[in-house]
Symmetry: C2
Subunit: 217 residues, 2 copies
DNA sequence: GGGATTGTTCGGTGACGGCCGAACAGTACC
DNA sequence: GGTACTGTTCGGCCGTCACCGAACAATCCC
């Protein structure tokens, strides 16, 4: 490990625009170059060059479809890396302004964090799983199976914790977290709001989750 | 979490000199400003400014003694953050030159990685612990206690894995890893070589470890 | 085909930041 | 006191890099 290598990697995230791209991509979906440019408020040409750097740096993966250039985070490892960085660069705990606080609170009610559930919803589910003693490999596997979730084995650890930087609490990540999120969305228990990471728990989802997880508050 | 915040944090490590500082500090010891300047090959004035940035950025902590300015990594969290980054910026596997390879191999025989053992020694010990079924909270606690290691409870997880970027293998970190490393050095089972991270296993240490851990190869 | 949309390439510009050396301040040792 | 050493401040230099707009290429739709 040499210092220039580390510096080069860090330099990829050391720019506001590229950082905004990566944070936007934390929802696990593929964005087009134009969407990212608009999201970050830069010209398309600028975004194009940034994407080149992030791609050759190995942080992003691309997929071309027609005239569109879709990019996504290269791997879950990249997502956790950015998440760890973001958690460390946590904002100073200054609740400034009621309006801003209310907006932030609404946004953090339920959202996805890369490929699993986060926000208050993610934290509460995780807490309930913990109280029910389900937060270990075998119990969570059994629980997800009874739910009907598709739990395909991968190289990722089954149960992993992910620190939410707004809630400052752990929530379920790893293969189990991803499977749960996929299932919740597929069953219509929650649905995405707009183009961001925010999701909304549906009435059906609330019923289903309460039934499957009685310790949920 | 905003993009500028993430970018600012990443920018701290996006410079070769600052990256070299942080990597040097990964041995967990406190270095003086002059030592770091010589290590990175820059003027003292340059090092001074870099240290200011790393300090205000929260990555480093300082302690002034007389005319000396000692700096160290601010917390274990910072160390793991840098470690994760370094693991991701892994060098391409190019064994170039016999001399370089031999040197690197000697350096990676045994060394510290922040506050625990790494290199081939760290990996082998971890593997032996795994074979002996000791890589869980209770077993490792019992094993360390019989060794006489001082295992004070902390906020850090007891058992944590750390990916060695030269060996590409896991080794024991966390509270248990730190306690083991401290004990091994205190008992004279290994001793530091020079001012770097390298350590050398002593004959006494080899005997003691083989006795305590029969699965060690 | 023509027109609209998406993305890329290229030159030019401006700002930021790393670096040094010289001068200075503070500490240790004789 | 004087000397040596460590660290800091300041001015100035220079390279890098993010940004834009304009021109161009590629695709899709009518």
């Amino acid at each position: 490990m040499t210092a220039p290598q580390l510096a080069d990697l860090a330099a990829l995230l050391a720019d506001s625009t590229r950082a905004a791209f990566c944070l936007a991509l934390m929802d696990g979906r593929a964005w087009t170059a134009g969407e990212l440019a608009r999201h970050a408020g830069v010209a398309r040409s600028t975004a194009s060059e940034h994407l080149d750097r992030l791609l050759t740096g190995g942080l992003l993966a691309e997929e071309r479809q027609g005239r569109h250039r879709y990019v996504r985070l290269a791997s879950p490892a990249v997502a956790t890396l950015i998440e760890d960085l973001a958690a460390h660069a946590a904002p100073p705990p200054r609740p400034s302004g009621l309006k801003a606080a209310a907006k932030a609170s609404a946004e953090s009610e339920a959202r996805t964090c890369y490929d699993h559930l986060a926000g208050r919803l993610g934290v509460q589910i995780t807490e309930a799983l913990s109280e029910a003693g389900l937060l270990a490999d075998e119990p969570i596997r059994a629980w997800l199976t009874t739910l009907g979730a598709d739990l395909r084995p991968g190289r990722r650890p089954l149960v992993r914790m992910c620190l939410d930087w707004t809630e400052r609490r752990n929530h379920l990540a790893g293969t189990a977290g991803a499977a749960l999120c996929t299932h919740v969305l597929a069953q219509g228990w929650a649905e995405r709001i707009g183009t961001g990471r925010a999701v909304r728990l549906t009435p059906a989802g609330e019923r289903a989750l309460r039934q499957a997880l009685p310790t949920l508050t």
